[in-house]
Symmetry: C2
Subunit: 299 residues, 2 copies
DNA sequence: GTTTTACTATTCACAATTGAATAGGACGGA
DNA sequence: TCCGTCCTATTCAATTGTGAATAGTAAAAC
């Protein structure tokens, strides 16, 4: 019967996915000798060779690949189990894990969560700032704040707002170099922009201003750094209007420019929707972020 | 993340299914304190109460019941995994587990398997004699010999033969009491039959002979005991024709009686079909049992 | 050609998990 | 009422599993 250690399956999946014992150990949070023993024992118990011990790693054999598909099904089952378990928890205490874009996580959420932690001292918050989309089924996070329309199924998604973008610069920079008169004049200024990501370049070209990455004098792929650079007076850059509105040292430029709008979504998995803890957090975030997005209109 | 011990799930399923820690421990093959700790730790890790500690056992709570369905999915996945693994084994050595009806397991298969073990000394045989239908997905057995048409899906089934049944008695009994002349005369004889199971009674009634369980002077639900009783000269009973044919001390009676016929099937799960070890065993069994079933015709 | 890096395998002290034994509670039958 | 049986909870010695450290290999980087 299937009376072998079910944990061996977890190690099996990890090694199959990463291709090495060491990487698998890092992923699971255990040590390389342990993973190695697990694989050995699984192979011994099944009487099969699951991996080819190649140079620099473990490679699945054919039989191993066949079995992997079953093991993945099992892991997905475990994911669903723990998701359902998390969704069944009662009471307003415990941990809520929030994932958000770097900008939101660094510049917007800390203040909101500071207020929240006063209202709900029993709830601990884990905040992950990343622009990578996360897998809510695998519980990378309980709640995700994303600036893209969610695509994953089985999610409950609420749209918070459409966040307009605008060019802006600090008072110190504008005093030194003046304000641009139109999009073409922008090219005469110290532009702050993205490095490898070319979405901004395409946007400019769509506006009729011929631009390549060297048009930006200060380049970084980290949006938070862009923001800090704008504040520091390095030059002119693109930012979310609500953020600009909040910062008195900044001035919004060329408001007539037809720039794209970022949709802001709050998403969570439907199985955790009914957890009071998570629901409470989500409701608070929704309200606070709506206020934040609307705050620009008032100014 | 789902980084709890996957073995806890196995214990969880076992307790949920059996309703007590002790029974679950017996089922899994571990000790009651261990299972108890597993449940405690699972509840602690999830922050949920899965069981109500009632008197004389553990009872699922509502949330526990919800989670059980996920856990069952997981266990089925593990079953499939180990089934696939068993089916992937190469070489003609290892263990093959055969399940068969009590009669087949006691009276027919031992001789066949004795021949087989000479031909395939590398294969170890486990033989389970039970009239309960087994779950081949959960690998109660690799191969099942059944006297009923298989219903489970995902099985590979081969029909071996239709085995006719007949009344018979030993020479010693017949010398003492004479042979019955027709089905009505049977009631004047010492009939050997089933106790709680009423299939034989219904059969007799269908033949026009009015019969109840007290018409049988010797009753047992164990088919093997019936057979041994017939041989011992206790009376007249029903048996498979090929078995009667093999036993010179027995005489077949009333061959014109329209008795039902038992289909004999060899079944195995499709995922183990390609294991050389299991396939070899199944082929041998099929051939040997076909011979056995046909042996009656020759006599 | 040497260094750096990434990996596996092995050792060994330690920490974790296990199960035999035991105590105690609730039920059902004599 | 008492006894036997079923169950759970707890204790503690022994086993099992773990991970830091280390040695060794092969490839990539300099």
């Amino acid at each position: 019967m299937s009376d072998f250690d079910w944990n061996l399956l977890r190690s099996f999946v990890a090694v199959a996915e990463t291709g090495s014992l060491s990487a698998a150990a890092r992923k699971i949070g255990t040590s390389q000798p342990t993973i190695g023993r697990h694989i050995s024992e699984l192979e011994r118990a099944l009487g099969l060779t699951l991996f080819r011990r190649g140079l620099g790693g473990y490679e699945l054999t054919d039989t191993g690949a066949t079995l992997l598909s079953h093991a993945l099904t099992i892991r997905e089952g475990v994911d669903r189990f723990s998701l359902q378990a998390a969704g069944s928890e009662e009471g307003l205490s415990g941990t809520v894990r929030i994932s958000a874009s770097e900008v939101m996580a660094s510049l917007v959420l800390p203040q909101i969560l500071a207020r929240f932690s006063v209202e709900e001292p029993g709830i601990e918050i884990e905040l992950v700032g990343t622009n990578l989309v996360d897998n809510l089924l695998r519980r990378d996070a309980d709640i995700a704040i994303r600036m893209v329309t969610p695509s994953q199924e089985e999610l409950v998604a609420r749209k918070i707002a459409d966040t307009p973008l605008a060019m802006c610069g600090s008072q110190t920079y504008l005093a030194r170099c003046g304000a641009p008169t139109d999009q073409f004049d922008l090219l005469n200024h110290a532009l702050i922009g993205q490095d490898r990501d070319d979405v901004m370049i395409k946007g400019f070209n769509a506006l009729g201003a011929k631009v390549d990455r060297h048009s930006f004098r200060f380049r970084t792929d980290n949006q938070v750094i862009i923001w800090q650079a704008i504040i520091a007076g390095v030059g002119i850059g693109l930012a979310q209007v609500p953020l600009i509105a909040r910062e008195p040292s900044l001035q919004r430029l060329l408001p007539e420019l037809p720039l794209p709008v970022l949709p802001m979504w709050l998403t969570m998995h439907k199985d955790v929707r009914n957890s009071p803890r998570i629901r409470r957090t989500a409701d608070f975030l929704y309200a606070a972020l709506s206020d934040f997005a609307r705050s620009a209109d008032a100014t």
